[in-house]
Amino acid sequence: MTSVASGVARKKKVTPSAILMRASMIMIIGVAVYWLGLNLTSDPRQFAQVTVNGLNNGLLYALIALGYTLVYGIIELINFAHGDLFMLGAVFSFAVLTEALGATGPSATNYALLLVVLLLSMLFCAFINVSIERLAYRRLRNAPRLAPLITAVGMSFVLQWIGLKWIGSNPVNVNTVLPSSDFEVAGVVIAVKTLIIFAVTIPLLIVLAFIVNKTRRGRAMRATAQDKDASRLMGIDVNQTITFTFAIAGAAAGAAGLMWAQTTGTVAYNLGFQLGLVAFTAAVLGGVGNLYGAVLGGIIIGLIQSYNDGLAIGPGQRWSQTMVFTLLILLMVYRPGGLLGETAQEKV
């Protein structure tokens, strides 16, 4: 999770392909900056508005991305099932809060219920994630890389099926507990929902960062991520630590699921796949395995998507997903280590 800088920086030979890579990278960044600058100057108010919307989604992406990054950091597995876990969290919160408890409008009791269900949803997703790890990933820990990856894809399908059976194949509308009112700051409309997302996600992110960085468990996690055998020799229970990591990752997904269901007002069984990919892109953007990177990446992806959807001069909403995946591919090509991560070049 923490990168170890290589001792001596060697001077690299500059090859034509390296120059080409660098030049094309600068060109792409230049085009992006020009695009944003053009929009900023032509309509600053709209730009600020879109930024607020982007932050809203970005924080939710960050919560999902955290799960990817934690799991990848500790067992180097791209947990494809994580996006669908998030979907199950959203479905669970819908089933409990909206259907079972009937909390469908803003009121004091409903806010209290919201917090209770938030905890329940986190527990639920943590439980599922831990069970998946126990049942499947643990047995494959020493298997070739392909095996756990394919298992994760399979698990993602199983979770999607559960969601499908739970709420059916059509998207379901959620009568949100959060107030739909908004207020204006300097011409920018800020929804109260956005503030509530800030109020829920930011403390969660701080708690997660605290757990990983300051607690004994967190130290065990970081040690396990670096070297399992050495951690075992130091008396760390590796299996338990990995279970704990999956629990935290699941809890984050559960919280994100509830917040998603409540803010966007729709839940669908195939929500997890696309959003999971978006969140994974966020994790990669920040540097997979890096906690702050995931948050940073989530926010950047949220902003990019929002700029793409909302700005007057731009490709528009139908290219939104394409933009994100293009970014993923460009990242893989130019900076596979992400913004805050270490480079992941393989010896070839």
Binding site: A143, L146, V153, S156, F280, M332
Partner: protein
Amino acid sequence: MSNTAPAHTAVSGNRKWAIGFTSVVAFFFILNKFILPEAGSGVQKFFNAWFSLTSMAEIMIWIIMALGLNIIVGYAGLLDLGYVAFWALGGYVAGWLMSPFFSGLNINFFGNPRPGLEFGIHFHVFLVLILGGVFTAIWGVIIGGPTLRLKSDYLALVTLGFGEIIPQFMLNGADIAGYNVTNGAQGIGGLDDVNLFGYVIGTFALPEKFLMVSLMAGAMIFFSIRLRDGRLGRAWLAIREDELAASMMGVPLWRTKFASYAIGAVGGGIGGVGFAILVGGVYADRFNFVISIIILAMVVMGGMGNVWGVVVGAVTLAWINSVGLIQVGELVNNSFGTNINFPSYQFLLFGLLLVLMMLFRREGFIPEARIRMVMNEDKVDEEVSDETKIASK
């Protein structure tokens, strides 16, 4: 064959499988062409329900796809999660080059346009197959080129990204800077009928179409087997088993992986062209992530790297997917009086299949001897005493 690969003893096995494949194809062709039209309605009904020729022809396309992916995943050990991109690209090559879609153009190169639809581009089907293969190979190079140096997980992600982007591009492609490139969600229909040396396979000549795609699948099987035993194939297997050892032995890693990616993509392209001809058009909403996973499941289930295993995997899963699940469901529902919606269990079936295969039979049902050893390395490790395990790390 026996001279070029003396170490390979599966020649007679290959022959047996090949005879089996040919006779099954011949059986269904003769059955549907000559026997069924004369047969009683009960027999007709049975075969149309359980082995309808449309689904049999689609199964052949799935075989081509699975064998193409097998070159990437099974031979070279690279994970590709976006193979549907190649299917889409191949399909659109057929859509562009064999249809009246580009109505402003009027190019006819030994093509067979439908009467009244002579505008557009009409190439001969062989040329379209070649161009489809070349086009997807180029895309394979574009996708694989910059990423093959990275860790295998990253390659999986990039392929996944492309598997999403390309179908989305096709879906949104009705207006690319003012040009209609892919006709969007409506897709491109009205593909030319195939004209083979003067013999025209009409739109509804299903037995002939079935025979045509079966021939394509047969060719793909042949090339897959020949490729594996050749120099390149052996290099792939070496990389799959141990990259470091292979590079020490002088196998150029990047170039070899690159070749597997480009050649594997060709399978997708040719299969895509075949599917477009079979359906008579190409429609963007068909191409999604689930397709990529189903193809992967075929390769994994049949036995990565083993051509005949993959063929069996493709036939089984494609059959279950197209008619098997529905028919078995009806049979169960009718005989036990239950009312279970079997097709809705498709996700569970494929998910559990992938998970259980990885947990209990990683090498697939008809495995190759070598992949069995590679995939179960960790189980061998467990038997070795702890001391040597630590020492080996």
